[in-house]
Amino acid sequence: MAVRFYQVGSFAVGNRLVDGTDRTVQSDPGRSNSLTSGHRACQGCGEALGARYALDAAMRATAGRMVAVNATGCLEVFSTPYPETSWQIAWLHSLFGNAPAVATGVAAALRVKGRNDVRVVGQAGDGGTVDIGFGCLSGMFERNDDVLFICYDNQAYMNTGVQRSGATPPAARTATTEAVGPEPGNPFGQGKNMPALAMAHEIPYVATATVADLHDLEAKIERAMTFHGARYLHILVPCPLGWGSAACDTVRIARLATQTGLFPVFEAEHGEVVRVTKIRRPAPVTEYLRLQGRFAHLFDGSGQPVRPDIVAALQDLADRTVRRYGLVDDVEGGF
Amino acid sequence: MVFEVRIHGRGGQGVVTAAELLAVAAFEEGRFAQAFPSFGSERTGAPVVSYCRLDEREIRTREPVVAPDALIVLDPTLVHQVDLFAGLLGTGFVLVNSTRTLDELGLGTLLERFRHDRLLTVPGTEIAQRHTGRPVPNAVLLGGFAALTSEVSIEAVTKAVGDRFGASPSVAERNVAAAAEAYAYVRREMSDGVEKVMLSAPAD
């Protein structure tokens, strides 16, 4: 049995004691560097990290036979400051809301040309997936088009100045859900559970991942590429700017999101959950919230909740998610 | 010289197809033809109008037929809803799908000033039902039209109808037979002279 080592901060990119095939793609000097250096992402950008790992893994899984379609958003903007591009793969950006449909078109063209070895990846932020891209995404899922769609979820419209999206969590402060009034931040009772919506289409493969467990992310990309048809990967990517967190805390915050239960890590096939990553070290939501400026209005200067009701509601949400997906060992998921 | 036809009916009676079939029949005979509907969204039972122009030379105009040389009415109940005879030329032909006479339909006075030998009813739905099992009178009325106006031959109508239903030869056969029966019916009615034509004697 292979020994698993956990990532420590962001310095350990190779696990030298691990079998070659289990090693992260990033440890391979022959990796594609799909998203190579020189892009203009912020320091500590979770999306840049996630995209680099995801696409290099996809390139390895497809032996370099891949085309990527990107929606408008941070990733597209910071990676292609004309006349430069940091993409070393075949890459197309069309519009904000149509990445899934454009990906469908690319896949159709490859099929009709008999290039069945070339795979298609579509990718977008949470806005381009959950809101403006939702119609096209649902269409792509419904037709079971052969596209792996990746959502880099930083839970708001970051590139335009941190506005609320359908993926923004309750109580989070954004420019359009300010931390003022009796219900500060994003209202409770809104938002879309995008992985669940993807599962409702009964597509071959749906998975969630975060930048806290990059091996897991790579493994899921590789697993996704073993399927044909519509596949969906939802990756939590903290945004230091929009979340008001320290650039060095990106991976830690992502880990806390999973350990509080707020972000469940799992895989589903044809609408049924088949694998769940259990929480190793459960953490209360406060540990997660306190690291982020977007939740700062819930605490006072010494870190004590000034809105214990909201914190409790968020804890409740986390607990429900733990129960629902069976994220803690003595609890069976009921999803 | 262009010959203009206007076809009235309800959605589901084959009004649009009738115009197309007529155009095809004329095409078979080497003439130019143009057929098009006056449209609405799909809805069975709604009034539908279609147009067909026949000519020896290219037909360029696209306006609806406002002064028809011939009218085909697939559903006489329309007379109370639509101005069926608007613009009909004095020398115009009228063929109405009905088992009743024009008088019995209450159209006697309306049609008084037209040429009586060019006005006829034909029991199209009944003929269609007997041959094809469906109350769709369009092919039938075209058979009648061929007889009444001689603008197209029954052979051309037969070819057009046959080709349209080419995928199911038995359906094609039955529609062709129905059209042929209407053709024969109209020929009989016409040769029996003015006395047998629907309009009642002037005294009424």
């Binding site: 379609v69 292609t80 890459w91 197309l92 454009v102 469908t104 649902s138 | 143009q34 057929a35 098009f36």
Partner: protein, 406 residues
Amino acid sequence: MAHTVALCRPEVVCAYPISPQTHIIEALGALVKTGELSPCEFINVESEFAAMSVAIGASAAGARAFTATSSQGLLFMMEAVYNAGGLGLPIVMTLANRAIGAPINIWNDHSDAMAARDAGWVQLFAETNQEAADLHILAFRLAEELSLPVMVCMDGFILTHASERVDLPTPEQVDAYLPPFEPRQLLDPDDPVSIGAMVGPEAFEEVRFIAHTRHLQALVRIEELSEEFAETFGRDSGGLLHRYRTVDADTVVVALGSVLGTIKDLVDTLREGGMRIGVLGITSFRPFPSDAVRAALEKARRVVVVEKAFSVGFGGVLSTDLAMSLTGLTVPVATVVAGLGGRPITKTSLQSVFESADRGELGQLTFLDLNHDLVARELQRIVQYPRSGPSAENILRGLGTPAGTG
């Protein structure tokens, strides 16, 4: 139409249903399903926005892409239409011209094409079904040669639902005229490129200018390709414009699309009566053939533009473009807005307008067959009881009809 498009060997066909384009796409779908049109991927998309997006992806990946829409559908995909135009992807689209709501109206006019006129697409207007079919063949050739998307405009219902005599091209003819699609740059893992970067102020103008020069090249190529078309297929179709009895005409009528047939018939009748009148049909609306139009009209004493669109708050659309082409000449241009929302354009109505023009009495802007009484009553009511709300329903209120039963 479907038959001709199929002969052009499209590789990806994707469209969303909208009246009156549905049967073209349905027929293509059937051809793909039976294998008659192969290799071809037919995709049932979930919206027009998706339709144009799928076409964009397909075209960027090197496949010949085709879609079709009308009116509301065109508007729904408008972001993608501009995207395709800006990226210079050689997509061909049938635009079955239909009015744009509100009020919702499924009948023919040219407001949809006019809404897209600045998007960088070539816009060709067909006068007959023959020309509509032929223009598709020319469209694919032109699009792929100049790396420009092309829309073939054909009047909804009037052409799309008309049966008329058409000479169908043979596969050999089409193959001789239209070679396989070989894009100069495409999405290929063997030669990766990034397509769709954000271009800032330092280069945007140049990119747009190059698109403009492509259109100017199209003005030349459309004529040349139409000549080649005539050689290959044995008939005249397309070209930048068609002139009919304009050489010695005092009055020249200008129009787009199927109404030209009606006008030609009328012109013959009026000529018999001694009026010196002719008609100019513009086929290529974008790029606008300014020089050719000017040459055709400079000897006229007056121009009457009959158009199926108008710019609310201003006047005609075609006539405005046309007037620009005639800058410096003293030829007066009158606009006649006709056929909006599918109202039939009759020879009778046109005749009185042309006679009025011939007498020098036609005003600058005329709305053909406008119901002046109805309008006057409604305007009066508005003055008496000013209230906001939709005109169509308020007209009914004025008549005492509950709007709900309209």
